[in-house]
Amino acid sequence: MPEWTSADMMNVAAARELSDGDVCLVGVGPPNLAANLARRTHAPNCRLVYESGAIDAKPRRLPLSIGDDDLAATATAVVSVPEMFNFWVGAGRIDVGFLGAAQIDRYGNINTTVIGDHADPKVRLPGAGGAPEIAAAAGRVIVIVKQSPRTFVEKVDFVSSVGYGPTGQERDGRGAGPTLVITDYGVLEPDPETHELTLTRLHEGVTVEEARAATGWDLKVADSVRVVPPPTDIELEELRRLRNREPADA
């Protein structure tokens, strides 16, 4: 029986959330792995859009950046970056946007900009990139982020991308917002009314107490917490192949 890590589980759980035919905006890192895993397993017709301008990219190997030539070479169309953000992202043509986070609060607001003050930060993070508009306009947003008290914070130092706003009620984006936060511990979903992120699923072998300890606020837990089915052999094998930059196992 193959072994798997909590990072594997996070990527596999994210991949499973994509349906065949979904138009998916893919960024670097775990989203890239998850979206390509979905395409190689249960969602072969999932449409990958990269903010570099590649529409319907069909990468033969895991791209190492969102500007890999393989993306342009295999895309149905390649558009300019302004067109990508105006006509495709901003216009609401993306069904699923994957985002990462350096900090996230209980209402799904995301910081990828700075720790400390913006003008004189303690830690300068990469910045917002495409995330603010993906967060606002995608049909639904899936956040993939490892859970820890440093990352899951009471208040983000800087709002780079809006989830449901400071009190959970200020969202004015056009999409549904962060409907899922997938971590290495489990899955959080916003409460339908308060939009407070609530633990609804745990990965196999993780306890509620561990998830609570990895959260910088008093984590709300659903009445019944499901267990996420562990990765299948096929999922693990394709994940391995992706990481080794091998083509799909035909």
């Binding site: 903010e51 970056v81 300068r124 508009e133 004015d172 984006g173």
Partner: protein, 272 residues
Amino acid sequence: MTNPVPLAEAIAKHVHDGDTVALEGFTHLIPFAAAHEIARQGRRHLTLVRMTPDLVYDQLIGLGVADELVFSYGGNPGVGSLHRLRDAVENHWPHRLAVHEHSHAGLANAYTAGAARLPFAVLRGYRGTDLEEQRDIISRVTCPFTGEELAAVKAVNPDVTVIHAQLADRDGNVMLWGITGVQREAVLAAQRAIVTVEEVVDEFPEHTGAVILPNWVLSAVSVVPNGTWPSYAADYSVRDNDFYQQWDAISRDRGSFLAWAAANDLKETADA
């Protein structure tokens, strides 16, 4: 503009101390050779504009070329931090770097407004983010028809934009393809534009998705084969992903960065 000029001549003539300079290329076609020439010529006090600063600006920032940075994502994609950028912002080494920060959608639209010589662009974006606190570059406008409030970004008009392309023809028209990013807009937004190319051809081939820029919107074309390394030019070179990985170690430490600079004839130009 008709005949290619040596890169050193193009930079000497068109890039001046204190200029606002955009070197564009979204992962693909990043004009590294031109950036290094700017540093070698000792340019200072530049305001650098680029959606994704990437290694190319990490190097220029570390060398002290820039006083200000306009950008939207400052990471080493798939690897991690840009350590020289971080050192400048967090520790003011080699000196303080003022930051003007956009989202990708915002900066792409700022270039687009610049290319149209409009003072601003309207977009769906920024709402509710702390980026909006930069009121000098990000604001709001109200739709006169619907009353809806939307984001506005101030146009970006570089003094000079530098890009790398695959081809120039004998008349000095330029063609690029693959991921073409925001290059067309960045060139058209600028007062002057310099293009380094892989080669000069008699006739452009057919390429779906190619951008062609007529010679009369360009100030200079220079032939610099592989001028985009460690980035790449589709159909000419592949991305040197190993160097992107190595850069993490080179740039993490001031000493190893300066050693790399010295080894590459890139002296620090700044008042460090």
